[in-house]
Amino acid sequence: MKGALPDEGTPFRETSAEPPTASVPFSHLSLELGHLYMEDFADGPARLARHFAAVRPWADAVRAGVGPLPGGRRPRISTCFLVDDYFSRLATPAELVPPLLAAAREAGLAIDYLARESGCAAPDPARPGSAPLAESVLHRLVESPPPGSTGYRPPVGRTGWLTNGRRTPSRRTSAALDASDVWQPPSETLARGHSVFMDVELFSGPEDDRTWSCAFLASVWQLARLGLLRDNGRAVLTPVAWDPAAFPADWDALPPVVQLTPGAAPFTAYGTCSVLPGRFLPVEHAVRVVLDQVQLEPDVLDQVARRSAAEEYPLPAGVVERTSYVFPPGL
């Protein structure tokens, strides 16, 4: 689908026309060790210790679930943690991160990669002029059409809402039409019997000053962990090695993804598993609605498919099926 400019058998070729697609390294699994609001950090070290103690047995279970691999090879698993520095910044990295890492260590867990939520929303500081990831993903949304969609529909980019089906038709207000004005329910496309209809707010505010929703940034975060995003063919959110003993006083001084464990398995992975508090369940349901409607670059998908096939580690074709969750009790 690379389009209008001919590529085969022509004696003349212009390279400006076809940027190459960078490849990224892959773990088998990217394991997310929870997610917390800024307020949770304010509750102090005991709150963090409780969090990681609750995560630990489930993280072990997830690890055990990946193997065994063909040829008796050890699975590559990396762990990550996403800090919310987008919606609020109550503390600096220097104040917030060391207790977090200590609490994880206490529970016997290592955070290999630490990421900032702003990294999913803002342009990559390492690449001036690059597009904000959230905007790139927004442009890649292709809405699942409810039956009867002929091609005549307003694009999601303008409404800012994404559903998994068909909304309730808007009601007329004219009293004369009251007799025919019966309420019609919304419906989920491909529902099993009955609908679970969801309408996800992707952003709010005007185009030049958008606030992305938590659900949409979480979708970008999943796609980044799955190694499925590129910016003009280049890799995005490439981890930067960081000294765990030296965190800055400003979030913006911290790269979007830092690698804290030298020699850790790659950040990007064939599949993801997130161990999350149950209160994030609605957000992650929304993430599934979004992921189901993102059209990824065929080149990138092919790349992942080839790599995983070469390792005899087959992947589901659907991106949603590459994500998984644990919502443990007591988290």
Binding site: A4, V142, G151, L190, D292, L296, P314, P316, V319
Partner: protein, 328 residues
């Protein structure tokens, strides 16, 4: 994470259809390459492809629109198809804007709708529920859709509208032109027969092109051919219409120059058939050069404009000379 279906081999399409809208970019002057890239940047993470040889041409990334509806058919057969229509915009020499919406379709598909991800990994493919009557759909598509049927034209139109809303366009065009619609349908040529093309000029700016092509021709390449046809047909139509309205024999020099000037400034240099066609499709132009003779007609129009301008320059010079002699 189980061993399920991996990334699919695309089913070989037996039908590709599309619609091209061609118009003058609504702005005073042709835009430069940077402006062209800004206009066609439909995706933040994908570059606009720019080509400078043999002419300047910028192509947007493909954007997709999901559909699930009946396809138009010539015989009234009810065929439901699900998938995505691809759309892209092309800007030639910063002056002529085109948007194309197109799809391909395989001979058959699953008996019911699959999860959306199944269609998203097949961009630009409409998968029929059951079997696809390719000939009836090709014919029905060219004839136009009924309500509740696939409306590819509105996908092309909304892309054109999206680009035309850009702030850098001033809507002060140097000449008034009509936009044209070219609808095309391509099926594989029967074994042993040559590729063929049937171009029909209809009412109200609608052109239809029925194509039989070598099996395996990429739908994007067919779209490229039809954009090329639409561009040159639009040039012929636009320049022909302008000359049609002018009384060249008239003494009103200013009025004639007002019509001919913008044609020279903005359109005459755009004629360049087959600028970047796949070689296998290039031969199809030959048929059109034979009958009706696209380039022959263009050369005649262009020559007429140049002759008129030369004649008028001569007349103007003689008048000036006469005036000076009289004044003595």
């Amino acid at each position: 994470m189980g061993a399920q279906e991996s990334t699919p081999r695309p089913a070989r399409p037996v039908l590709a259809c599309g619609e091209v809208r061609t118009c003058l970019l609504p702005t005073r002057d042709a835009v430069d390459e940077r402006a062209a890239e800004t206009l066609l940047r439909l995706r933040a993470d994908e570059r606009v492809r720019v080509s400078r040889r043999p002419n300047r041409c910028a192509v947007s990334p493909d954007v997709l629109t999901g559909v699930d509806c009946r396809l138009p058919t010539a015989n009234g057969a009810k065929v439901r198809a699900i998938g995505t229509v691809a759309a892209r915009a092309v800007l030639t020499e910063g002056r002529v804007l085109q948007s194309t919406a197109y799809f391909a379709a395989p001979a058959d598909g699953p008996d019911s709708r699959r999860p959306w991800g199944y269609y998203l990994v097949r961009p630009g493919l409409l998968v029929p529920v059951g079997r696809l009557p390719a000939a009836a759909v090709a014919e029905g598509f060219l004839a136009g859709h009924r309500p509740e049927e696939l409306d590819v034209g509105s996908v092309a139109e909304s892309l054109l509208a999206r680009i035309s809303r850009a702030e850098l366009l001033d809507y002060d065009t140097p000449l008034n032109t009509a936009s044209t619609v070219l609808r095309w349908a391509a099926r594989p040529a029967p074994a042993g027969s040559e590729p063929s093309l049937r171009f029909t000029v209809g009412e109200e700016g609608l052109r239809t092109v029925a194509l039989r092509l070598p099996e395996g021709t990429a739908p994007a390449a067919v779209a490229g051919l039809c954009e090329d046809l639409a561009l040159h047909d639009w040039l012929l139509t636009t320049v022909g219409d302008k000359l049609d309205g002018v009384r060249l024999g008239t003494d009103d020099q200013a009025a004639v120059r007002k019509v001919l000037g913008p044609l020279v400034d903005h359109l005459l240099h755009l004629w360049m058939p087959r600028a970047r066609l796949e070689r296998v499709l290039s031969g199809l132009w030959d048929a059109l050069e034979e009958t009706p003779g696209f380039t022959r007609q263009w050369d005649a129009l262009a020559q007429r404009i140049r002759d008129q301008l030369a004649l008028r320059a001569l007349l103007a010079r003689r008048e000036a000379l006469d005036a000076r002699l009289t004044a003595r």
